[in-house]
Amino acid sequence: MSRIFVGLFTVLCWMMSIGVQAQKPLRLKPVNQFHLSIPEPSDLCLTPDGAHFYVVSDNGLLFETDLNGAITRQSTFSAYDLEGCYADADNVYVVDERTRKVHLLDHKNLQKHHTYEVPYMASRNRGYESLCFNPAKSSFLLISEKDPSTIFECDASWRVQNETDFKGLSDISAATYYDGKLYLLSDEAHQLWEVDATTYSPTRKFELGIINPEGVAFDKSGNLYVISDDRAILYHFGPLPSPTNP
């Protein structure tokens, strides 16, 4: 009988260690870094012209910066805890994690003109942590951080059309779409996962090696940028290695 329990224990340990052996992430190194004068920056996205970033903060503020992180504009609009942002030709979209509200702002004056409420009954800091648009599904994505990390697909009126629990990462702190793929960032694992934009199954994993990564974006040349919340630093990683020639 005791041998059975020893065997069970061994199998248990082996199963828990499987996660480590599978698909080791590729380590990326930043080529440059820029200190931000923004308190607790929590996400960034590229402006439609590709010349600037929008950056949101845990303090509910929205900034526009150049690609080196220098502030060029600040919105007078303020919310409570902005955790995700996305911009298209029409609007800047920001999500407030505390109130579960998506605010739409005008590019010209950065003033809010619409608000949508997307209820989610979790604790204050377990709300929507990421926002982006997924062209593969013609949906806006809102993603809860953890416990569980759920990808909500929303229509243009921010009604939830579908939801998918994402397994594998301990948390999702930001998301962005680039070149046919969806990229999910994990604060706790310090990793960036490239996933299929339709099935959400992982295709590649990258180890970033920075503290508290909370925001991710690509510029028009394919350079990867990641924001560290705790350190208020914008890291520039350069383009991702080609899948066929890492």
Binding site: M1, F5, L8, L12, C13, M16, S17, G19, V20, P39, E40, N59, G60, S78, Y80, R98, T99, R100, M121, A122, S123, R124, R126, G127, D147, P148, S170, D187, E188, A189, H190, L208, G209, I210, I211, N212, S228, D230, R231, A232
Partner: protein
């Protein structure tokens, strides 16, 4: 009997395996928004089993300190609810925060009074955070002193804190006001507070006969980024992180010695107590370590409370010690391993200072001036934590082995103790 125990052990083992695979997504999380108000409801359940008696290591019954309660032999094994906790945290706009935290498990304790480490009321405070220059917190709250004391039990690998910081030597909570602020992206945190000085007993609403308040200050500096109050490197820090804290507190009380006699007689000293300490914590790649030091200088109004005849030698004495701890968070095994060593001297007049009177607390006599260490206690403790669903559902085990017991205090057991607990947080 042995067969029954073995069967129970195997059932428990099967339950653990079941928990590992089938309880990962159990959650209950609620927050409510109403206009500018946001209210979050969370809580915790934390049953523990305490195996106190290890055969062959105890010579006789051990009773509750300073009492002769024959019904409370401290060698007996027990089940206990460490926490049955309800937590309400509210925010109004970006300016106001409030918190009410109640632990229903501690409404009564074995000695009839409030549990010192875990009082029934854990927090009842209001904060104004609307100014970027200074923030204010008022109410019943944790005193900003000692990193170990300030760290939530959910963020430490042990079920029970080290003796010096668990609330018997100095108070961990009190009613008062704290001014605080953060600088340099929260790498620097400063706190200054004024409290009743009565500690957890302040909830009775009266001050002692001196009418004085306790003053407390703390400063923390972290690098390269802000450092949260955690003993475990949960996020497997990719770069080394460190935080240094320095704190002090001063208090002059008029309580009688008897009012504090259920612990070391240091917490609400009749006289002046000055205290300072420092702590350092570091983490990197799943490893984390803490070191904490405290020194208390006591000037009792009645030195004879601490021993007849002592006043002939001096008007003050010191107490203090240190805690050091090493932890490893093994993510693949979802496990945390930890080892801790703590040393505490409750009175250096009967302790390790050569040339001072050698006071015998039990007999109340000064016996000489030889070196001894009878008032020093040392413990070594190891802990293992299995995260079933992060810290929201975790099995914890702690085994503590006294290396040396404080011989001047009756009722201090020299036996090793095993504690097993299941922490379940709904948040």
């Amino acid at each position: 009997m042995a067969t029954t125990s073995t069967l129970l052990a195997r059932i428990a083992f099967c339950c653990i395996i079941h928990c590992c695979f089938f309880t990962r997504d159990l959650q209950a999380q609620i927050s409510i928004n109403a206009g500018r108000n946001n209210l979050e409801i969370s809580g915790a359940l934390y049953p523990i089993f305490n195996m106190r008696y290890v055969p062959g290591s105890a010579s006789g019954p051990v009773y509750w300190p300073f009492t002769n309660n024959q019904n409370a032999d401290l060698r007996n094994n027990r089940f206990e609810m460490r926490n049955i906790q309800l937590n309400l945290e509210g925010r109004y706009a970006n300016d106001w925060e409030y918190q009410l935290q109640i632990n229903f498990a501690k409404i009564a304790s074995p000695d009839g009074g409030p549990d010192i480490e875990n009082p029934p009321l854990m927090e009842s405070s209001i904060s104004y955070v609307g100014s970027r220059h200074i923030k204010v917190k008022a109410g019943f709250q944790k005193i900003p002193y000692s990193r170990s004391s300030l760290t939530s039990y959910t963020q430490m690998p042990y079920i029970r804190r080290a003796e010096m910081v668990r609330g018997e030597v100095f108070s961990r909570r009190d009613v008062g006001v704290v001014l605080y602020n953060s600088y340099w992206n929260q790498r620097i945190n400063l706190f200054a507070g004024m409290f009743t000085g009565q500690g957890e007993a302040a909830l009775t609403g009266v001050n002692d006969r001196s009418g004085n308040f306790e003053l407390v200050a703390r400063a923390e500096v972290a690098y390269p980024s802000r450092y949260r109050n955690r003993e475990i490197d949960d996020n497997i820090s990719p770069v080394p992180m460190v935080v240094l804290g320095v704190n002090g507190r001063t208090n002059t009380r008029g309580n009688s010695f008897a009012s504090d006699s259920l612990n070391y007689g240091l917490k609400n000293l009749n006289g002046t107590r000055n205290m300072w300490g420092f702590d350092i914590s570091a983490q990197y790649m799943g490893w984390s370590a803490q070191f904490e030091y405290h020194l208390m200088n006591m000037r009792p109004t009645v030195m004879a409370d601490y021993g007849q005849g002592l006043q002939a030698y001096t008007d003050n004495f010191n107490a203090g010690g240190f805690i050091t701890q090493l932890n490893y968070n093994c993510q693949p095994l979802r496990s945390v391993f930890s080892i801790r060593y703590d040393r505490f001297n409750s009175n250096d007049l009967v302790g390790a200072r050569s040339g001072e009177p050698n006071y015998n607390f039990l007999s109340g006599t000064v016996t000489g001036k030889a070196y001894d260490s009878r008032s020093t206690q040392e413990n070594i403790t190891i802990a293992y934590n299995l995260k079933l669903n992060g810290w929201n559902s975790a099995l914890r085990a702690q085994y503590s082995q006294p290396i040396k017991v404080d011989e001047t205090l009756p009722g201090r057991a020299a036996d090793p103790q095993l504690r097993l607990g299941w922490q379940y947080l709904f948040r």
